[in-house]
């Protein structure tokens, strides 16, 4: 496999899945072309201004932001559906429509879902 698409459709903080997806994507960067595709409730991960201190867990958007070389695709319709389109998002992400999102999944050698 030369490329991997990590698909995250789970909101951050409610479970370990977003944290797990970020870690898996980070360790894959030195071996493969890595895309993190964010879909559905996963899009809450890219909202700017998160403060997770009272939850006692790391700020996941800061972790995402720190991996500038990671390609992050955000499913734009999911943002619309949740009223997040037009809100401030972290800077290192690409907004894509349904077609481009699916094309990126299809063109990757494998898809790992979280």
């Amino acid at each position: 496999m030369k490329s991997v698409f990590y698909l995250l459709d789970t909101a951050p903080y409610g479970s370990e899945k977003a944290f797990g997806a970020l870690n898996a994507a980070a360790v894959s960067l030195n071996r493969m072309q890595v895309t993190l595709g964010i879909y559905g409730d996963g899009v809450y991960l890219v909202a700017a201004g998160q403060d997770s201190r009272k939850l006692g867990v790391p700020n996941l958007s800061d972790i995402l932001y720190s991996y500038g070389e990671l390609r992050v695709l955000v499913h734009e319709p999911s943002l619309f559906e949740r009223g997040l389109f037009g809100e401030t998002l972290i800077e290192t992400v690409e907004l894509v429509d349904e077609e481009d999102f699916l094309e990126s999944m299809e063109s990757s050698d494998c898809v790992i879902r979280f």
């Binding site: 496999m1 899945k17 797990g20 870690n23 898996a24 360790v27 071996r31 790992i112 979280f114």
Partner: protein, 126 residues
């Protein structure tokens, strides 16, 4: 020989994925080198002492696959978070006293290595 890697993220019994993965791996071993990577709650699957009343013991399925040559690894961070600690490898081919034979705790970097060396990857996650 081609390589198949299966990635699991769910614990045993909450879904059928562990059992499905084992059935896939069992058949794949006839033609593939098989890796299974246990991530997040899936690190519970090889725990010793499981006694499900109505289901096949998922841990014993994994051990059976390891005996047939499958490489089965669990994420160290996920395992430590759930109380499974990596130690010296024991005579059972595991490095965790709470794990069934043949399954080892490893670094998450091994997931990346497994994926990059695989011809096929199957991800089973709810």
């Amino acid at each position: 020989m081609k390589t198949l890697t299966i990635v699991l993220t769910d614990g045993p019994y909450i879904s059928e994925y562990a059992e499905i993965a084992c059935k896939l791996a069992e058949n794949a071993l006839k033609r593939y080198h098989v890796n299974i990577f246990l991530y997040l709650d899936a690190v519970h699957i090889p725990k010793k002492g499981q006694n499900p009343s109505f289901f096949t013991c998922a841990g014993e399925l994994l051990t059976g696959l390891a005996e047939k040559g499958a490489v089965i690894r669990a994420c160290a961070r996920c395992a430590a978070a759930r109380g499974y600690i990596a130690e010296e490898e024991n005579e059972n081919g595991s490095n965790c006293k709470n794990y069934l034979p043949g399954i080892k705790i490893s670094s998450l970097y091994e997931l990346s290595e497994m994926l990059s060396k695989s011809d096929r990857v199957i991800s089973l996650s709810r």
